[in-house]
């Protein structure tokens, strides 16, 4: 998995590419929390994301809660059908902000 960071006006965009699994999740979690320390608006561009296991979902939940606690937000963009169906299956579709 690779993460590419972009800054756009008042928000940070993280482009996630590859698999978010038990081994790569710590890297994503660190990137999310670090971004939310810098700015309270975060976009996760999921165009290149094709796999997310429960470890990754927990990192997204943590990001969502952190963003809320800072009166900011975390938005997922360009979510693939496969990842979307996993978010649906787990009820995360109702928790997360998806564009």
């Amino acid at each position: 998995m690779t993460i590419n960071e972009k800054i756009e006006e008042d928000k940070i965009i993280l482009e996630i590419e590859g698999k978010v699994d038990s081994l790569t999740t710590p890297q994503l979690q660190d990137a999310i929390l670090l971004s939310l320390q810098k700015m309270s608006h975060l976009v996760l561009d999921c165009e290149g994301l094709n796999y997310i296991s429960s470890a990754g979902l927990r990192a997204l939940l943590m990001g969502q809660k952190t963003a809320q606690s800072k009166q900011g937000n975390m938005v997922l963009r360009n979510v693939s059908p496969t990842v979307l169906s996993i978010l649906e299956m787990t009820g995360f579709i109702k928790i997360l902000e998806i564009e």
């Binding site: 699994d21 038990s22 081994l23 094709n50 796999y51 997310i52 296991s53 429960s54 470890a55 979902l57 927990r58 939940l61 969502q64 809660k65 809320q68 059908p81 496969t82 169906s85 996993i86 299956m89 787990t90 009820g91 109702k94 928790i95 997360l96």
Partner: protein, 133 residues
């Protein structure tokens, strides 16, 4: 039947997933469901790697075989007795604030697989999962 036996540690995750992916490709398993199945395999393997043997080292085996349009996975380990099917499902209707962290992986397994069975025999945890396609 194909069988893989590795030490139950997180570092072996990709060895396990590569083994499963190769098998799924070989039998022509529908592409759109390969990811979901691999996620289930990850969840079960990671649970065993993290909890089955506590601090000790131990092995885990995974058998895969397919007949007609069904594929069967059997995980076996000699760690502490643990039936993942006993775990209550997470409440997926809760808000972000109320959502609990655990239980998601097992829940995804139940949702994705068509048949799941657990037995404890000869000091082994045996988890069998079948998916029709």
């Amino acid at each position: 039947m194909d069988k893989l036996e590795v030490e139950a540690k997180l570092d072996n995750l990709y060895t396990v997933l590569d083994f499963v992916e190769e098998k799924l490709k070989a039998i022509g398993f529908p592409e759109e469901n390969v990811t979901k199945l691999c996620i289930v395999i990850e969840e079960i393997f990671v649970n065993i790697a993290n909890y089955a043997y506590k601090e000790k080292a131990g092995m885990v085996s995974l058998e895969v075989d397919s007949k007609a349009s069904a594929i069967r996975f059997v995980f076996m380990d000699e760690g502490i007795k643990y039936n993942p099917l006993d775990r209550p499902d997470p409440d997926i209707t809760l808000s972000a604030d109320e959502r609990q962290i655990g239980g998601l992986g097992i829940f995804m397994m139940k949702k994705t697989m068509d048949i799941v069975e657990y037995e404890y025999k000869d000091n082994k945890n045996i988890l069998t999962m079948i998916k029709f396609f």
